[in-house]
Amino acid sequence: MVIAFWTLAALTLGSAVMIVLTRNLLHALLCLILSFVGMAGVFITLSADFVAVVQVLVYAGAIAVLMLFAIMLSPRSGRDNAANMLQLPALVLCGLFAAGVTFTVIETDWREASRGSFDTTAEAIGQALLSPFVLPFEIASVLLVVAMVGAIVLVREDS
């Protein structure tokens, strides 16, 4: 399990770094898809099977395709994956942020649970979505409808 976790985490982080370094925007998108799939693998090592499959289905299957279409509908001159002038300050900021979080994580005394991994999460997630979390569930569905209608209205040509 440890080997699996670290291999998949290395895959995810490696492809995330490749998004920065590659020269073509479509190659960056393919590295992003690889990192999504790697994340799904990491989720499985954390015994979150339902969330992992939903991640592949929604992120790698739908959001990546959305980005693909958006890239295809945009100019060819903008596909060179350039970086703007904020590279060095952003690097410093991100390094400081990662260092700060790492320090906090190591120094905190977490209440580790003694239970093992979950057996099946799908049924428990379903129960939780319908009893304590029913209001966010309904609001999320309204949000999706609003987003869908909004996206269609934004892209529609005035005829």
Partner: protein, 111 residues
């Protein structure tokens, strides 16, 4: 025992550190990409890192109802999908008007 030593288990600290590194890479991408779709890629990476943190906490930390972490992760994925759809519709619409999706050039609120 130092949490970074590789013993026979994956510990909470290791998961959280991986999440933090992924978040900072996503932050770097979101701050430095010149293309609007590139910025969106960074945002999606950040949301993924947050999901990883939620699931790590759900797995390793004592709580009365550990499935809440998974429910949060599912909601984050849902909201990320909705937000990606709207953001990409915006990108396409802006390209139609301004003929560019370079975020450095789209800097006027009215034109």
């Amino acid at each position: 025992m130092s949490p970074l030593v590789l013993d026979a288990r994956v510990t909470l600290e290791q998961v959280l550190i991986v999440g933090a590194i992924l978040f900072s890479i996503g932050l770097y991408i979101a701050l430095t990409k010149r293309n609007a779709v590139g910025v969106l890629m960074g945002i999606e990476l950040m949301l993924n890192a947050v999901n990883l943190t939620f699931l790590g906490f759900a797995r390793f930390v004592e709580s009365p109802r550990p499935i809440d972490g998974h429910v949060f992760a599912v909601f984050v994925i849902t909201v990320a999908a909705a937000e990606a759809a709207v953001a990409l519709a915006l990108v396409v619409a802006i390209y139609r008007f301004r003929d560019t999706i370079d975020v450095d050039r789209i800097n006027l609120l009215r034109w």
